[in-house]
Each structure stands twice: as C-alpha cells, then as structure tokens.
Symmetry: C2
Subunit: 178 residues, 2 copies
C-alpha cells in the first residue's frame, strides 16, 4: 500500500491491490472508492481541402498554447471514434468533414494514450477558430509551420497522410519506434 503525493490529500490517493484483483489501484482511504484508471483515447483527423491544402489549428489552451495541431482530442463517453473525430473538427475549427480512411493508431504507452486518427476531407473551406483555437488555417505542404507543431504525433500524422496519399496505400500507420 502506497500513499500517493498527488491529489492534495483527498479522493483515491492510496495504491492498494483490491480483493480479487492482481494490480494496485488508486483507492480512497476515506470511503473505499476504487478508481480504475485506463488508457485514454485521442481521436482526430488530418483534413484535406479541395485544393490539397491541410487544416491546422493554433492552440488557445494548455498544453502548447500557440502551437499548431490537427483537430483532435479526448474521446467522450457514448460516441464512436469517428463521431469523436468529427466533433473535434467542429469544436476546434468549425469544420465539417467526411472521414475517408483510418490513417493511424499511435500508441504512446508512457502516457497511456492511444491516438486513433483518420484521413478526412473538408466538405468546404469555410473554417474558423472554435473556443480552443487562436486561429485556423489551410496550409500547402511547403508552408506548414513545421517548427511550431504542438506534438510529435502531429508531425507523424501529416507525414503519414502524405505518404498514404502518394502511395495510395491506406494501411494504418503506427508511431515511429522511439
């Protein structure tokens, strides 16, 4: 049993193996509540405009404020991965998309995250910043803000998307070896 330093001394803050289980779980010593923690799913999409440009959003919220990302975020309860990707495109860029292919499953085990990303097309070019974006824009490949991307997976997704389009091969990609 381990008392954890996080959580400010409230809630599930003790690591203990529950009866009938095999792994330590976060447990509340006050009320016995067991907080089973599981990997989180991020859903999103690389969005292609009719003229071949790609949609990026400049983040208005932490982490990585001011850096550029594809529309993506945590999947919510009671939605599908595709519905989540469509929701994120609307929330971050007021962008309506048609999903065409599964682009990639990126496992990032050290943060217990699985990113499920799609290749999509914008139904039209009328995009605008949602509340979580400072700006949104459509970029030619050569004009991408490569040195100001928010996360490594944004770089992977853009590169994998281009490879897939050029090869006509939509075998889902994985994260590069660390």
């Amino acid at each position: 049993m381990t008392e954890l330093g996080d959580n400010g001394g409230v809630g599930p803050r003790v690591l203990r193996v529950p009866e009938g289980d095999s792994r330590p779980r976060h447990t509340c010593p006050d009320c016995g509540f067991i907080h089973y923690r599981n990997p989180l799913i991020v859903v999103g999409s690389v969005c292609l405009a009719g003229d071949g440009r790609l949609l990026l959003c400049q983040r208005a919220i932490a982490p990585r404020v001011g850096y550029w990302t594809i529309p993506a975020g945590y999947m919510e309860l009671e939605e599908s991965t595709e519905d989540g990707a469509r929701r994120e495109a609307i929330e971050e860029a007021n962008a309506n998309i048609n999903i065409e292919h599964l682009l990639a499953i990126y496992n990032i085990p050290h943060i217990s995250q699985v990113q499920i990303l799609y290749a999509a097309r914008l139904t039209n070019d009328a995009v605008s910043p949602g509340p979580e974006s400072q700006a949104v824009d459509l970029f030619e490949w050569e004009d991408m803000p490569w040195s100001n991307l928010a996360f490594p997976s944004v770089h992977w997704a853009l590169t994998h998307h281009r490879q897939a389009v050029e090869a006509g091969d939509w075998t889902p990609r994985s994260a590069p070896a660390p």
Copy 2:
C-alpha cells in the same frame, strides 16, 4: 447537480459540471474528487494455428461463463495495444502470438467501448487454459461453437478474419450497423 443511486453513498456519486468544463462529471461531495470517465479499450486477437485452425477460449469468469471467445480484454496502463493483445493471449490461453495485421476497430458506443483487434499467428499449437478460461481449443471453421460465442464481436471478428484472409484485403473492419 444529480445525486446518483450507484456507488453505495460513497466516493464520486454526484453529477456536476466542474468549473471550466462543459459536461457533467462524477464528483465526490465529501472531498471534491472529480472522476473523469472515458471510453475503455478492449484489445485482442484472432489467432491462427499453422494448420488453419483458430483459437477460442471458454470463459471461466463473468460475464458469459462457459461461452467461447477470442483472447481479449481491457487494455492496461502503460502498454501498447499490441502488447495488450499479446498479454491477453498469454493470460487466457498460454498462447504466444505474432501479430500480423490490424483486423478491426469495433466501436460499441452504448457501452463506451472500443475494441482494437488484431490478426495473429500462434508461434506453436501448445495452448492451455489460463486462470480466466475453463478450456481452450483450436477449431476448424465448420466446427466453431457458433451458437455458444460469448459476444457479438467474437462473431464479427471471426467472420471479418475469414473475409480478410480469403480476399487478401486487410483494410481494418468496423462493427456492422446496429
């Protein structure tokens, strides 16, 4: 704010929209702990033996005790989807597998579950029941226990695997429309 009937009156049992959030979350009225709940990932595999038979496991634990399933289960923290599928094959059938293709992503939104299933090969036929299985066996297609499969997704996965093998087309499959 909604007091929930579950949880036995302890832990995060009140539904409330936290400050800066847009959705109600399970909150503990005693200590303020917010329990963000997210979709759960199930990882598993359809496992092919050298002679073309497929591995199934007869469940020893609830739900669906006595019914047959492919090796699959909840993904754990700090593992990849592939590592999780390999772990489940070992835990349920003492089976060592080589993962060859992503077979399917099955969204089951009404239970907030995403199943990520692979096509794999057994490294050898020496399989045996792990603690969560009553029995394990290798089945010819014609001899599958079709009327005693544990879950609809087991039926989907076996069928999609056969279609993919026959067509040589490993485009990941989705759940059939409800």
